[in-house]
Amino acid sequence: MLLRLEPRGEASRAMIWLTPVLSILLTLTFGAILFAALGFDPLRALAAYFIRPVSTLYGLGELALKATPLAMIGVGLALGFRANVWNIGAEGQFTMGAICGGGVALIFHDTEGFWVLPLMALAGIAGGMAYGAIPALLRTRFNANEILTSLMLTYVATLFLSYLVHGPWRDPKGLNFPETRMFNASAQLPGLLDGTRFNLGAIVALLVVAAGWLLLARGFIGYQIKVVGQAPKAAAFAGFDQNRIVWFSFLVGGGLAGLAGLIEVAGAIGQLHPRISPGYGFTAIIVAFLGRLHPVGILAAALMIALSYLGGEAAQIEMRLPLAITGVFQGVLLFFLLGTDVLIRYRVRFGRPATSRGG
């Protein structure tokens, strides 16, 4: 018997929604075998991974906290990716947003006021946008490859942050350690649930998802993005301005990444230091594609990826599972999520192809 893949005439709509479920089932099966082979109770390990982290209110708050930057950045990036605009530098735009928004908090560190947070948010968005504008300008003006320019600017932003916290913005009472002072209360996002770290940022992320969905489903610019991405020639005939799409993608993507950066430092961290992001800007690229570049899908993907991080920690704490195993498990999850995509465009057939027999 032979297993072969036969192209479908068109992408299967059922499979678009079924494959994530299938991949999770495959991951669970594989995970159970892996854990059992290593001598861990597979059911307990899977429970520690997927259920324990979200079995308390605190855990749910943590899930929201971790998914917030991923979803916000992912939605912004997806707009560009749909139009074949490749912003790989969200990590840098995130950092710039944190710097600009955090800078406002530092300037007003001895001032209390309801207006501090909104001002920080605006500065964060502006910082991310301005940083996204650089690759947009280089692409539209000099036709420089935005993948390279946006990626490399990430390192510039990280080093700039490092310079600031080692130097001019260093906490005067911090014994020269590279960190700023803690933001004061009116420069920190209010918590929304006692005993958790669930804050306003999660609500903002939901609004961003909704706005992204509206824009793609109903907005004219959303329509232009889709046409430019799927049929660039048709877009040119229709008179859609390619450069405008590039600018739009980078400004929106950069602005959202910047806002996510501000939310991270004004929310969970409460200060600036050199390691504010464990790579959210890069993980969000995976999140955007896992979510099929659809805002609602991205929200689901962000929650899934966030859960896999929380689960990895919980498995280490409860099961003494080594970090390497949790890393393998996360890799397997991604592998199945992306690998089963083949079923959208192909169907699996058993047996030999029914071609005409040669004489």
Partner: protein, 364 residues
């Protein structure tokens, strides 16, 4: 309307809880220690984290059935994630939690305020609570011995120093090395390259190569990978390892290494939890307290030099040799510490200037 409790309320609540705990005497003798460790790197990094993990294992062994199997979480990012990991460890019944990187300071403090009955130990920081201690090692004591060895072994009179971040701990190492070096070789200089990372074999190797190209024939590192020693071995110069004994990576080049030793401290603190004598402290331990040791000296070092180094170790332990004893001149040549004086601990804790003999500007 939804209630917006805000951070101020949370902090106030936590502070109130801490006060209540203090009044109630917070610390009680525990039947068993259930310790947990938060690591910034993987346990097999052959450096910082693997040394803490070695300490954890020594602690488990020494306590026997008085200790439940300890938990550890590797590769914990120093951003928003750290607080969750520490909180989960406190929630899951651990009563002694070690957080082993500077970046865990504020998250540890936040969680410590919420769990007055759990004892916290933060390595290398400076914020304390009634249930949160800080501990660190006087790594510079080892550097003073390394500087002495370098002074005897260098021919080019140029020492290459790979710095991680320009924080006081690293500056102490550079200055202590230079002071000891120039007691032996008064015209020797130290060149520093900052790599802005604790571990990155590629960057560390590049820095080592650049320093050797500038004439350095002893490579020192305040980073954790074995790359600088491997480059030194290839290029036929000396090196001094960091965090763990790196002899096996560069048997010819490796003069010695400053080895972190956390086991005795971890045992002591776990026992204090068992006895109910645990108190919040600021511990800065040196060689005499067993917080650090020197890896075996390379047999290629002449016997008389090895004897001098051994003597220096003994003198530092006995308090007869102070690595920051005056006279010390700054880079401008002005005497900033007089003979007979020494830089006190509170000044060392914020050290941000180079002594004479270090080349270049300290990034600020």
């Amino acid at each position: 309307m939804t209630r917006f409790p805000g951070l101020r309320h949370l902090v106030a609540g936590a502070a109130a809880m801490a006060v209540v705990a203090a009044a109630a005497g917070g610390v009680q003798a525990a039947d068993k220690v259930k310790a947990a460790f938060v690591y910034v790197g993987p346990v097999n990094d052959n450096g910082w984290t693997s040394r803490h993990d070695a300490g954890r294992q020594e602690m488990e062994k020494a306590l026997g059935d008085k200790a439940e199997k300890s938990a550890f979480v590797e590769n914990v990012p120093e951003g928003a994630d750290a607080e969750r990991v520490i909180q989960q460890l406190a929630l899951s019944g651990h009563n002694l939690i070690f957080t082993t990187s500077f970046g865990f300071m504020n998250p540890t403090q936040k969680v410590a305020q919420r769990f007055p009955n759990v004892m916290f130990e933060h390595a290398t920081g400076f914020k304390r609570e009634i249930n949160m201690s800080t501990y660190n090692a006087r790594f510079y004591e080892g550097r003073a011995v390394a500087g002495l060895l370098a002074g005897h072994m260098t021919k080019t009179k140029v020492i290459g120093y790979i710095g991680s971040f320009p924080i006081p701990e690293v500056v102490q190492g550079i200055d202590a090395t230079t002071i000891a070096l120039r007691k032996v070789a008064p015209d020797a200089i130290v060149k520093v390259i900052w790599v802005n990372t604790w571990v990155d074999p590629g960057k560390e190797a590049d820095a080592a190569k650049a320093l050797i190209d500038q004439g350095a024939d002893v490579i020192m590192q305040h980073t954790d990978s074995s790359a600088p020693c491997q480059v030194a071995q290839e290029r036929g110069v000396w090196c001094v390892g960091q965090a763990s004994d790196q002899t096996r990576f560069a048997p010819k080049a490796h003069l010695t290494a400053i080895v972190d030793e956390w086991g005795s401290y971890y045992i002591k603190r776990a026992k204090a939890v068992l006895d109910g004598t645990w108190k919040s402290e600021d511990v800065w331990g040196g060689m005499k307290d067993g917080f650090l040791s020197l890896a075996p000296f390379n047999p290629a070092i002449p016997a008389d030099v090895r004897a001098k180094a051994d003597q220096a170790v003994a003198d530092i332990k006995a308090g007869k040799l102070l690595p920051f004893a005056g006279p010390i001149k700054n880079q401008a040549g002005a005497e900033v510490v007089k003979a007979g004086e020494s830089i006190p601990d509170d000044k060392l804790a914020g050290l941000d200037w180079y002594v004479e003999g270090v080349q270049g500007q300290l990034p600020k």
